[in-house]
């Protein structure tokens, strides 16, 4: 079957879709806006729930993309998908236009820009960082404040940019809770006598072994959990971050000085994805993610024949679900191409 499929987005979903298509003998071109394919996972150090090194998965993906049926175009974005009869043409930002028999949209997500939650002072107070920044620190196996000091107390704020009408993101990003627990454990391993706090509204341990990780974080690593949404962060005279929250279980307001505040930033529909959807007439849901034709049995279909969705462009997902979703997208594409 010498069909040609264009995969927009070279993240986990894009690579997996391309790899599977290539193995089935189709010609695939992958268009990735960054210098390198791999997606957000390249910045990650260890993955939940078993804290295996992220390198192993990036290795798997790097191997996957190296198939000779795949041509990878990096540092390029796609403005529009044009539909002519049974085939598509895709104009790429570097001026070229690709014809394709089918298109898989795998534009993925953007990490919420924590600056938009001004009250947490990201970008203003030195020791307010995001979970992604912390993960980079883990790569160097050293967790230090901006002043190079070893923190004696670290706070994780859940639901930053998720489940929050004020930043127009009412959806839950699913993976930040379990990431916070994982990072809390990693901090406690690197800094055994550093107190760790998680400020949460609900602990959403949705996947397999997630609840066990949560229990282990309490039992073995003595992580503290305070139920309440942090309202504001401010800097103190001794350069720490002062945090205000209501301990809703005690029914009392609470204030605490922290050396490092980690914001668990959520997932949003990627900006480039949004522009592409608009230009190509693909409908997006209330949470601005791409709207699948059917929640239950058509989550890969876009409602337009020949255009399929894969991965977190439809909804927040962990890596396991993203890969399965990508494989499902390939099946749908192959069925479509055969039935045509």
């Amino acid at each position: 079957m010498d069909k040609h499929v264009v995969v927009i987005g070279g993240g986990v979903a894009g690579i997996e879709a391309a790899g599977t298509l290539a193995e089935m003998g189709l010609r695939v071109s992958v268009i990735e806006k960054e210098e390198e394919a791999g997606g957000h996972i390249t910045g990650w150090h260890a993955l939940f729930p078993d804290r295996r090194p992220a390198k192993e998965v990036t290795e798997y993906l790097r191997h996957r993309i190296r198939h000779n049926n795949i041509t990878l175009i990096t540092k390029a974005t796609v403005e529009r998908i044009n539909h002519h009869g049974h085939s598509f043409s895709v104009n790429v930002s570097d001026g070229t236009s690709l014809n394709a028999d089918a298109v898989i949209v795998a534009t993925g997500f953007d990490l919420f820009d924590a600056r938009r939650k001004e009250e947490y002072g990201y970008g203003i107070y030195d020791d307010v960082i995001t979970s992604a920044d912390l993960e980079i620190m883990f790569a160097s196996n050293k967790v230090l404040t901006s002043a190079g000091k070893v923190p004696s107390r670290i706070g994780f704020v859940h639901c930053v940019g998720s489940r929050d009408e004020k930043v127009n993101n009412n959806h839950c990003s699913k993976v930040c809770c379990v990431t916070a627990v994982k990072q809390a454990i990693e901090v406690r391993e690197i800094l055994p006598d550093c107190e760790v706090f998680c400020f949460y509204m609900d602990m959403r341990m949705f996947g397999p072994l997630y609840e066990e990780l949560y229990r282990e974080s309490q039992e073995k690593y003595n992580v503290n959990y305070i139920r309440g949404k942090v309202s504001e962060a401010s800097s103190t005279i001794n350069g720490r971050v002062s945090v205000r929250v209501e301990d809703t279980l005690a029914g009392r307001p609470l204030k605490m000085e922290i050396d490092l505040l980690v914001l668990m930033v959520g997932m949003e529909m990627s900006k480039t994805g949004e522009r592409l959807a608009e230009a190509s007439g693909l409908s997006t849901g209330v949470n601005r993610f791409l709207k699948s034709a059917d929640h239950h049995y058509g989550s890969n279909e876009s409602g337009k024949k020949g255009i399929f969705y894969a991965g977190t462009c439809t909804a927040p997902m962990n890596i396991t679900d993203t890969i399965s979703h990508a494989r499902a997208a390939v099946t749908e594409t192959i069925n479509y191409l055969n039935s045509r």
């Binding site: 602990m203 279980l249 005690a250 307001p253």
Partner: protein, 119 residues
């Protein structure tokens, strides 16, 4: 608030209800966690309070007590902790397998010691 302030001005400065985590004293929590490590496992679901025998006759709330202990708020617990009958129903209910009965037993002792700062 001193009595003079109230009569001189007709009002006094309200005491803050804020828990300042940097100044609260959490010795009781340490005392309990040492003797009953499962105390850490509590995620405040309230199952114990729901099944509590004493809880039907008086204000005894084990979930709130655990939370207050974690925050070092010991004063409000002085009377409450003495009301538990150690009947053990909460043991059978706790989804996390916290040894709630031993937590109360150790807590009542710890709080008494804390009040007489023997801790």
């Amino acid at each position: 608030m001193s009595a003079t302030a109230a009569d001189k001005f007709g009002f006094a400065i309200n005491r803050t209800r804020l828990i300042n985590y940097d100044t609260t004293d959490r010795k009781v929590r340490g005392y309990i966690s040492e003797r009953e490590p499962s105390f850490r496992l509590c995620f405040a679901c309230g199952g114990c309070t729901a099944s509590c025998t004493a809880g039907q006759h008086t204000t005894f709330n084990l979930r709130r007590m655990n939370t207050y202990i974690r925050r070092g708020e010991i004063a409000p617990l002085r009377e409450e902790v003495t009301r538990c009958m150690l009947c053990g129903k909460c043991l059978l209910v706790c989804p996390r397998g916290v040894n709630t009965r031993n937590v109360v037993a150790v807590a009542s002792e710890a709080i008494r010691k804390f009040e007489r700062n023997e801790l």
